[in-house]
Amino acid sequence: TFSPCERSPHLTINHEVAADLDSTNAFEGPEKLLEVWFAPSPRLLPPSVKEGGLKAVSPSTWEGMLDLVKCKILSIVRSEHVDAYLLSE
């Protein structure tokens, strides 16, 4: 078992981006939603996969992908099973 404290998700804020963000020119509401599964569940990761799977990939690596999408990381909530990234735009 693990304590409630360890279970509590952990928030990190990207102050550099979040402090000066101006969304004056953002206008379009409806989002695009992409969901890519590489395995049916976390228990069924292929043997070649590093511990933690995608969750072990560093935020700075995701930044490269998000640059192509035109998004910046504002903050991250990390929990045991999921990392939730709040993004600009």
Partner: protein, 399 residues
């Protein structure tokens, strides 16, 4: 915009004129190179084309308000489908709802069973003989124990024509006024001073909230450098966008969609944009493990994005927190969310994974309950029965 990263899947939801699909190839490459997922389109990781083989892919969106302003492959559904068809084998595209009103698009690939390619096991993959096609195969790896060990359910509510008075909550000017009333002047001044000092500290980029203290030396330490103890007394203050986002989340009622009383370990990360607009992510940890330390459940998420301008007002809510059981029923969640924005019209989609021994009774219950939304008339009711998922689509207008 928001991104949710699980060990086995990634969800990316982006707003505005973002170019989501242009990040797809990089995403698949990261999954192969950095996470170690199997690939079948190259002979080695050194190949610049290398891309992990997905188990399944979903891409969806509502019809755009200003499609001509979208960039890259997003200027039309036809272009998006072509982009996805050029990327993946075995994809299927759908349009759900009224063509001359609010409708919704879906592109999906399915695991083995729908593909023509013989299945592989995870251990037989990684390199080997690459496919002749430049496309990336999907769903060709079989997983012992699949399909999913637990229920997979995603609810999405897309709301248009928001109540103008309620939409004002999501403007910086109004939120600041509310915050000024709620936060004592002394605390406000301390927060402002801390904010200013953070701007003067060379290279300091990442600050966490009061509950968990981490200060990172510079933006390159996004991955988690050691905290700097000297700065530990100032990082309790967050940026204005996050601080006001928290105020708005509390005031508008979003914090109560999954209340602390029922979900004590849940956590909300909210941001209010300048001059307006709002985003929030919520993480709802799985139930406490049993005496054996094992927990079969995963943490869940919910996310909200709001564009409050009258000319294009819009809000979305998405959650994969399972309805019912000891938590809130799906119909309760829908009613709660709709009451926050009071939209003129909204669509609701529910993706529900079938279970191995599924019978249709599992489908009937949520459909009946979701039909009735107080103050709204249901205009459309559409059910798609896919191989391994039900897709339930509803469209409502205010009475």
């Amino acid at each position: 915009s928001s991104m949710f990263v699980f060990p086995h899947k990634l969800i990316l939801k982006t707003c505005g004129t973002t170019t989501l699909l242009l990040g797809l190839r990089r995403l698949l490459r990261i999954a192969a190179v950095d996470a170690g997922f199997p690939f079948h389109n190259a002979t080695s990781l050194d190949d610049v084309r290398v891309a992990a083989t997905p188990y399944r892919v979903f891409y969806s969106r509502k019809n755009f308000l200003f499609p001509h302003r979208q960039r890259g492959p997003h200027s039309s559904w036809k272009d998006e489908v072509k982009f996805l068809d050029d990327t993946f084998e075995n994809g299927s595209a759908y349009m759900v709802g009224r063509m001359n009103a609010d409708h919704w698009y879906l592109y999906m690939t399915s695991p083995v069973g729908n593909t023509l390619t013989p299945p592989l096991t995870p251990s037989s993959s990684n390199g080997g003989s690459p496919t002749r096609s430049s496309k990336i195969p999907t769903g060709i790896i079989t997983f012992p124990g699949a399909p999913e060990e637990q229920a997979d359910e995603t609810l999405e509510i897309l709301m248009m024509d928001l109540d103008p008075e309620l939409a004002k909550q999501f403007y910086l000017e109004q939120a600041s006024a509310v915050a000024d009333e709620r936060v004592p002047a002394q605390a406000r001044e301390a927060r402002r001073a801390a904010h200013d000092s953070l701007g003067d500290i060379d290279g300091q980029a990442f600050v966490t909230d009061a509950d968990h203290v981490d200060v990172f030396a510079n933006s390159k330490d996004l991955d988690g450098a050691a905290p700097n103890a000297e700065q530990a007394d100032i990082e309790a203050r967050t940026t204005e966008g996050h601080a006001l986002g928290t105020v708005v989340s509390d005031m508008c009622g979003l914090s109560q969609v999954y209340p602390k009383s029922a979900y004590p370990d849940s956590r909300i990360d909210a941001y209010l944009f300048t001059p307006c607009g709002f985003s929030a992510n919520g993480v709802v940890p799985a139930p406490v493990p049993g005496p054996d330390g094992k927990c079969d459940k995963l943490d869940h998420y919910w996310t909200v994005h709001v564009t409050p301008e009258p000319v294009c007002s819009y809000a979305s809510f998405e959650t994969n927190v399972p309805g019912g059981q000891n938590g809130r029923a799906t119909s309760e969640v829908i009613n709660h969310v709709v009451s926050i924005f009071k939209p003129g019209r909204f669509t609701m989609t529910l993706f529900q994974a079938k279970k191995p021994a599924d019978d249709d009774s599992l489908l009937v219950a949520p459909i009946k309950h979701m039909d009735t939304i107080k103050g709204y008339r249901r205009m459309d009711r559409i059910v798609h029965d896919f191989d391994d998922y039900y897709l339930i689509f509803r469209y409502y207008e205010r009475e």
